[in-house]
Every structure is written in structure tokens, then in C-alpha cells.
Symmetry: C2
Subunit: 579 residues, 2 copies
């Protein structure tokens, strides 16, 4: 990624300002943020253990960045030099505050990884530069989250207050913002006046993330009420089954309620990432498993699909159906998604476990080791062994440094219809789907918790109000949404139907395929005559079919082989009851 | 309509140029065409018999129009006066040639109705003004049709040649037309290079109509091949079951193949009219009933829906599903559709019958009287008695002035599965659906032809490639497409399902309802819990239902009562085979 950023002049944009390089500025006005996201990704990696070579590289880049910073603190490669006069005059499009937000997030992650304050101090200088400047507008929300995190990092209330100002939307009139502007930007009016998601999906997710952070630190009930309303709007009316969000290419925007087209889905990788980031914050303020279910849905499906299995090609859109057009590229002119995918995957260790006053939570499943402390200071280690999501068996070894009473909360995913939980071989009680199951006891080093989730493949149906999904099923297994991809089928995808929904799937582990996956097979049917040769309209029940086997792969793994059609929602064969 | 045109200053736009009125010009740059369409409508009415008051009104308007014409022949209320310098400099948007096309069509219709040449001569002066002007571009095709008709009316080849020049698309480079321009305008490149419908639907339909007219007069086989290719693209991939065309609001445009959303359908009234006009021309060059089937589909459904039952409110869009938003208005800023609906309904007598060398065709069914002549000059009268489309029984009395051998072609609609045809009470033979049935004999005055079409309600299914229609049915009866409208149902429309497709419909004549219609009733189901309260995704088969009766009305008659939801494609209840 850094090689690509160098190749496209994104780092040179800083070097030209410091005189280290003679070159014209390249790329759209928000390119600084892409480099910051790369630094944040690298910093997350460094948080899990030092890597001297990577750290040296990051240090060199940070040095290039800081050398471009003005003495005033201002730092933006587009609005320094010849565009200086435009600074803060076109905040609806400028991405100035957006870039600062990414700078601060990178700086905080790097500071936490290394203890080195240099990038953090640079970020703080810029933040202080505009702390009293008015009016301000986050045309693309992002800075709100970063400011709350800066407050947490420095303890300085003024950053939290600035986040509150940005969320307050008090500058609508002074900035002459039109209704269409504030709808698109998801900023510029009071966040607490929002009732539905609309406009640019990434902006809406980032704004909601920032608002949740702000609520976490202030407890302002108006925010909580708005966040709950918006979450219901998202999860009951506007989210894809993959956790992707944003239905329309035009404006990279949310659609109306139930407007969730499959092939036309925009579902930008950054928007699914924003959805996960927001739900992580909702989880943190509530401890409710419904948010972790959305995190998992987005992570394993609509986010994971964004990066190719070899890690070098990226999706900008993550549609739920395709006729085989090229979807993965190593670079985009607006290349927000690739480094965003890198930073979110690098940040995953932070999503697995959390503590509360009375114990510790296991949010996510996957092989991992936690070395942390309970909130009373007791050091604790948790070792998680599993091949999740292929198996539903998870073994956790809980080792507090000394015997301690606390609750060990294990998340029971909503999709697991039957779950068993044992502690040292004995049942811990009946677990309910979609909740955290608290195991309260005196824990001592080496205690064993074993979970067994129900990984039976499931058929899902969509709300009948979603126009494109009626009469179709999606296949899920554990947290994974599956799909049909052309290369695995004998028939052509738009002509394949799902048959006999009551029959079981065959599950087969294929270690040689797509990095190792469980393949699912099920009986289906193929149209007797290809749909492309059939009339546009004909008598109901006139279509003939022949049996066919359907082979499903996890959605995230599609588009890693030869190009071809794909679909998540598969039409169900309807028998003509007149015959 | 004329009152509305006066009220909005559309006629005054002419009067201000002649000094008869002091007023600023009003409305978009194409308003002249709306008045011309009104004149053409009035002229079609006058073709069926003189109405002195209407004629006097038209004469007065024509006088106002011609008083505004420049001595040069140029006539366009937007590009005379202060905008004169822009004339022919912005033909991609100017609608100059479009307005001339409508002027010529109005003039020809009026001339045919009355024999009065004054408007025709005015149109010819303008046509002659630009006969050698180059480059020309029909940014909105329309003039092509009018020029071929002017050639037919005057016998002057230069008008046909000008139509050929406009269709030839030889000015692409000289006018610096971009690919996106020629796609949107459906002009500017050779018509014969087209292979698919794309861009602005009305422009595409008008261009195809003009190209068919040109083919009819020249026989150029390249045109025929292109027209056949485009017709297959339209009817196999891009036409709604209502005969409406144009899927996207953005650009008022065609979508991709099978992109036929219901609620979001643009389906402009003018585009359905264009579809009918084009198919009438395809019918004229071929004598094939498949084109008449499209005419009937568009006329009885996607066009007829465009005007309210009381004739004063118009649809611009004619979607196939609605959540109840206001769809009919008496006026639009771009008011192309209302006068277009008037002229097409007024022109219907011209669609019913046609002659060929060997006889006479009955294209359309409806109570009517024809007084015309065979192509050998024999005067003939045909009287058609029927309550079609409510009844499938049609009685035709064929009365040549003297006994004559000729073929009497009766159209057997594609939807009629069983058709009986008798002549003077005796079977005329086995009729095939979707073809013209020729009855060859020696006809004498008073011969009786009786047709009986199969009016059993039918369930239609869409090609599985149409994303929004899978698992749904549309109800048809004869030429009419039916729909569910909110006010007739006990349950809420998005929560109603079609059940038991094998059961028969109940048909009930309701003379008191919506101007008199046959209502269709069928068993259905209603979701046990409203869809708005159901989760976005849940286990397949988990939805409970209760029985409900569905009441269908003809699609054309919707939105004439209290506002409410409507849908043409009704989801079919799928039984969960696992139970």
C-alpha cells in the first residue's frame, strides 16, 4: 500500500511543501487522509508487538508529514501553497477537517503503540489552530470521533467541546447550507434532529460514530435517543444482509426504506467499515449483543469482501449480485477504501475483548490471546482456541493472575439456534441467542470455558418490502453469508433456482479452495431454456426446469477467481399449483 | 387544455413577438411544441367531423402563431427577439427542430382535416428556411417523422432527404458530440449504428418512429435491420408489461437490460405514446400482429393511465407500484405529456383500420364506423359493434359498395388463447393467437363477421432476470393489465399476497365504479404481522399469513380516488415445504 501511495505521489504531496521534492501536487483534495489511514493501520500492527523495520518506515513518513506543517499548525497539502486563500472557505467539499480527523486517529494509534508523541503533537498543534475558529463544518464527518479520542488521550475537555460544537449543527444559517447539503453531508444541522439515514453513507456512519463517542463521554440523553432511532432505521430498513450499507451509486447514498437493490448496490467498503465502527461504539455504551451481531455481520461479509484473498486488490463497491464485471482493483482515484480496509483489519485485536466494572466480555470469536487487566487491576490472560467460523466450537482458557470473582460474558450470536456453554466440563446453563451470557464465579488460572454454537446452514428470507428479494433466499452459516459464484456451478447463475428448501445442505471443507473454506451444496433447478432466450412476460407457471446442484461459497471470497456472475439472493423454485 | 396553455402564457409567447401582447416570455424553451400538440389534437378531432366552434378557436390560435413568424420563415418564440444570436448554436438543448417537427405535424393534421393550407404553408416556409442549412442536429428527435409526413403531403423529395440527413448522424465530429450526448439524445450518430435502446426514452422512441417512416419511403435495408434489432431489445428486455418504457428518472432514460423497477419506474406518458407511435409504423411496414399487440398494450395501459378519468389531470410518470404519493396534476412546468395524451387519444381513429393491396385490416377493437375505400378505389363501410375490452365479442358488418374479392384481415391478439371467427354465422377456420387472420371471399354489403376472444383472466410472470418481479404475478384480462389499489382492499397492499394461483377469478361488472369496469377478485393472503413491523431478514418460512380477498381493477383507472398504495406485480404466497 505504501508503495502505491508513493507511486501516486501521495507522500510527495507533503515533500513538495517542505521542499524535499519538486513535483506538482497529485490526486484529489483528500489524499492526505489515505496516507494517515495507512499510518494508523501500521500503528495498529505495532500495538500488537514491535516490528523495527515497519516502525522505521512509519517514522520516516511521519517526518515527511511534519516537515510540511506550517508554523501555525495548519497541515493540508491541498490548501497550503497556491490554494491557501481558499482555506476554510469551502468546507462542504474541502475535507480539511476530515483529513485532520484521520491525522489525529493515526497519531493516537501511533502514540499508543510506541509512546512517541511527535505525530500526536503535530496533530494537537493543528487541532489547537482551529479550536476557536468559527464557523466550522465537517463537510465529511470524521473529526468528531478523532476529537473525542483526543480528549480521552489528553484529558483536555476543549477537544470534546469542539466535537460537541461540530455535532451541534448550529452553523446552518451562517454557512447558507441547503437542505440537500445537510442531507448529503449528514452534518450541518443538529445531529440530534436526525431521524433517518439519508445522504452519503460513509459520512452518515462516521457522524453516528462520532456522536456515539460524544454520548459516551457526556451522557447527553438527546444523543442516545437519536442514536437508537437511527440504529432501528438502519437495521430494520436500510442494511444489506452482508452488513453493507448505502444503496445508491448516485451520491454514494442511502436509499429509501427497503430500497436495497442487489446488483446496483453501492455498499462502499468504507461504509461497511463505518457501520462496524459505529456498532462497536453502540456496543461499548450498552453492552448489548445486538450491536456485536452487526459488527460480525459487517466484518465477515461486507467488509471482508472488500479485500482480495491475496491482500492486494480492493473492492470499492460490494454488490450482492454481479454479472461478472471487474470489481477488484489495486488502486482508485479516490482510494479511500484500500487503506481503510487495511486499518480496520489491523485494528481487529481491539474488537475481541472488553472489560466492564464487573468483569470481561468476549465480543468476537477467533484464535487469539488477550493479555490485559480487569478494571480492578487484576492482570488476566485469555487464550481462545477455535477454527471459527468454520467450526462453532470455541475453547477459552481464563487465567486471572490470582483467583478472582468476576463475570465472564460470552457472546451468543443471534444466528446460533442451540448453544452449549460449559465451564471445566460442566454446563453453565441455558444460553439465549443474541445475548451475552454471563458466567459469574470465582475464576482461577486455567479455567476452561467451552462454547458450541450451532453451525447448521440456514435459509434466510428478506422482508417482503424489499422489492428485489421477494421469493428468494440467502444462505448463511454461522456469521458467514454465502453466495453462488459462476465458476462453481454447472448452470448459468441467473438461470439457477433454489429447490426444496426443506432439504439439508451438504457441507464440505475445501482446504485447497480460496484459502480454505467450507463449501455448501444444495439441490436446485435450472431453467429449461436460458432466461435470456425467454420472453419478457409469459403465462405464470409456463417455465420448465431441470434439476441442478448448487454450490455455495462464502460471500467474502467471491471475485478471487475467473470473472463471472455472482448472487447472494437466490430465487426459490415455485411449483405451479395448477398442474 | 387551451385555457391552461393561455394561463401559463404559452400562446402569449407568440403574441408578444407580433406585438399583440406585452409580456415577458414564459416557460422552458420548448413550450411552442405544447401548443402545436394541442392544435394537432384539435385537428384530429376535426378530421372525424367539423365542429365550427373548435375550428374557429384553432383558426384564431393559428393566426396568432403565424403573426409571430419571421419573414425568413424562422419561428420559435425562444430564439426570436433577444436570443436570436443563439439560433442553431446549441442544438443539443435548443429543441428548435423539435418544435418545428410538432409545428409540421399539427399543420399536416389541420390541413387534412380542413383543406386549409395556412399553417401548412407557414411550416413549409420554416422547413425551407433550413433545408440547406448545415450542420443540423435533432437534439430531441421528432422532426424526422414530421419531414417524412411533409414529403408524403407535398410530394417534395427534399423533405425526405432532410429526414435522411438528420438520421444519418454525419455531424458527430463537426458538432463535437460526446458519446454521452449521442447516447442521451439518441441522435447525432448514424441511426443504423444503434443496437440497443439507451438514453432518453422519448427521444429514442421518436427517433425510431422517424427512422421507420424513412424506411417506409426508401426501403433502405440497413434501417430495417436496425429497427428489428431495436424492437427485439425493447420487447425482450426493456418494456414494462403496461407498454411503458424508460426505467430511470435520472435522464428520463432507458435502463440496462431487465432493469425494470416498479415503484421507481419513470415510464413517462410521452414515452409510452412514442412506443405506440413507433409500433404503428412497424405494423405499417410489416403487417405483423406483434406490433399491434404492443400498440394495444401501451394504449390500454401505460398511455391510458396517463389521463385521469375526468380528463383534467395527467401523469408524467406511470409507475407500476406506488406507496400513494400524488401522481396526477393538471399542469407541469415541462408539460409535454398532457397535450401529447390529448393528441394521441384524438388520433385513435387512425389506428383502427388500414388497407393493403389485397384488402383491409382491422387493427383495433372498439365501437367504430369506417367510411373509406379499398386500394382499388371501391368504397367500403365497416361497422364494429362491441363492448371490448369488457367483452371479447366483436361484431363487424362489412359493406363494400359493390360485391368485391378481397381479404378482410382480423387481428387475433396474442393474449387470446381460444378465438372463434365466423362469417355470416359459419366458422371461418382456426385462428392463431398473435396473427392476422385473413378472410378471403367475395364480400357483399352487410356481411357479418363475428369474433369471440378469450377474456379469461390470466396470470403473467416476468422473466426471472427482472430483479423486482421474481416470485410475483401480474393479472391480465384481454388487453388490460390489472392492479391492486389500496382503497379496494381490506388489508394493506405491501402485505397482501396472491394465493392459490390455480383458482379462478371472479369477474364482476361495476358500472358505478371508475367509469364502469370489470372488477376481478381472487383469493389471497395477508401477512400475520405487517411487513413494516417485521425484521429486515429472518429465517425462511417464518412468516405467518391469514387469508384475504384481493380485488383487482384495471391499471389505467388507478389514482382516480383517494390516494393510496398500488401495485401491478403481486407477490405469490410461497408455502414452506419444510412443514
Amino acid at each position: 500500500m505504501l508503495e502505491l501511495l508513493e507511486e501516486h505521489g501521495i507522500v510527495d504531496n507533503f515533500r513538495r511543501l517542505s521542499g524535499r521534492k519538486q513535483a506538482p501536487r497529485r490526486g484529489p483534495l483528500y489524499t492526505d487522509s489515505d496516507l494517515y489511514k495507512w499510518i494508523e493501520a501500521a500503528a495498529f500492527v505495532l500495538q500488537s508487538g514491535d516490528q523495527p523495520e515497519l516502525r522505521a518506515t512509519v517514522d520516516r513518513i511521519i517526518d515527511d508529514i511534519l516537515a510540511a506543517q506550517e508554523p501555525s499548525g495548519y497541515l493540508n497539502t491541498y490548501y497550503q501553497d497556491d490554494k491557501k486563500a481558499l482555506r476554510f472557505t469551502e468546507m462542504q467539499r474541502s475535507h480539511e477537517l476530515y483529513c485532520l480527523g484521520h491525522l489525529l486517529q493515526a497519531a493516537i494509534a501511533y502514540y499508543r503503540a510506541t509512546g512517541d508523541r511527535k505525530l500526536l503533537d503535530g496533530g494537537i498543534r493543528y487541532a489547537n489552530y482551529l479550536i476557536d475558529k468559527r464557523p466550522l463544518l465537517t463537510g465529511h464527518p470524521e473529526l468528531e470521533m478523532a476529537l473525542v479520542e483526543l480528549y480521552r488521550t489528553t484529558g483536555e475537555r476543549k477537544y470534546l467541546d469542539l466535537a460537541g460544537y461540530l455535532l451541534s449543527g448550529v452553523e446552518t444559517e451562517r454557512l447558507h447550507l441547503k437542505p440537500s447539503d445537510v442531507r448529503y453531508m449528514f452534518s450541518g444541522i443538529p445531529f440530534t434532529s436526525r431521524t433517518v439515514f439519508e445522504g452519503h453513507a460513509v459520512r452518515a456512519m462516521y457522524a453516528s460514530s462520532g456522536a456515539t463517542d460524544y454520548y459516551a463521554e457526556t451522557g447527553d440523553p438527546a444523543y442516545r435517543s437519536t442514536l437508537d432511532t437511527l440504529w432501528a432505521d438502519l437495521t430494520q430498513r436500510k442494511m444489506y444482509i452482508t452488513g453493507g450499507v448505502g444503496s445508491r451509486s448516485s451520491g454514494e447514498a442511502f436509499g429509501d426504506a427497503y430500497e436495497l437493490p442487489n446488483g446496483a448496490a453501492y455498499t462502499e467498503s468504507c461504509a461497511a467499515i463505518g457501520n462496524m465502527m459505529w456498532n462497536f461504539r453502540m456496543l461499548a455504551i450498552s453492552g448489548k449483543a445486538q450491536y456485536a451481531d452487526v459488527i460480525e455481520r459487517a466484518l465477515f461479509n461486507g467488509i471482508n469482501s472488500g479485500m482480495s484473498l491475496n491482500g492486494t486488490l480492493y473492492c470499492y463497491r460490494n454488490p450482492l449480485a454481479s454479472d461478472g464485471e471487474k470489481i477488484r482493483n489495486e488502486w482508485y482515484d479516490t482510494t479511500c477504501c484500500p487503506p481503510n480496509l487495511e486499518r480496520v483489519l489491523a485494528s481487529l485485536p481491539g474488537y475481541y475483548y472488553a472489560t466492564s466494572k464487573d468483569g470481561i466480555y468476549v465480543h468476537m470469536y477467533g484464535p487469539s490471546e488477550l493479555k490485559w487487566r480487569l478494571e480492578d487491576g487484576t492482570p488476566i490472560e485469555v487464550v481462545q482456541k477455535t477454527t471459527y467460523p468454520w467450526s462453532g466450537d470455541v475453547a477459552l482458557t481464563v487465567s486471572p493472575e490470582k483467583a478472582a470473582d468476576f463475570a465472564f460474558y460470552v457472546r451468543v450470536p443471534a444466528w446460533s439456534r442451540r448453544t452449549s456453554i460449559t465451564v471445566n466440563g460442566k454446563s453453565a446453563g441455558a444460553a439465549r441467542s443474541g445475548e451475552y451470557f454471563p458466567i459469574r464465579r470465582t475464576w482461577k488460572s486455567g479455567d476452561q470455558v467451552e462454547l458450541r454454537f450451532d453451525m447448521t446452514p440456514q435459509l434466510m428470507a428478506a422482508n417482503p418490502r424489499i422489492p428485489e428479494d421477494f421469493g428468494k433466499v440467502a444462505v448463511g452459516r454461522g456469521p458467514l453469508v454465502y453466495c453462488l459464484e459462476h465458476v462453481d456451478q454447472k448452470g448459468a447463475i441467473p438461470d439457477l433456482l433454489f429447490a426444496n428448501p426443506g432439504a439439508a445442505f451438504q457441507t464440505e471443507w475445501r482446504g485447497d479452495l480460496l484459502g480454505g473454506i467450507d463449501v455448501l451444496r444444495h439441490g436446485g433447478a435450472e431453467l429449461g431454456k436460458p432466461s435470456a432466450q425467454q420472453p419478457l412476460y409469459e403465462s405464470f407457471g409456463a417455465v420448465s426446469t431441470k434439476p441442478a446442484e448448487l454450490t455455495f461459497i462464502p460471500y467474502y471470497a467471491w471475485a478471487n477467481r475467473e470473472p463471472g456472475a455472482m448472487e447472494v439472493w437466490v430465487p426459490v423454485q415455485v411449483s405451479d399449483t395448477r398442474r
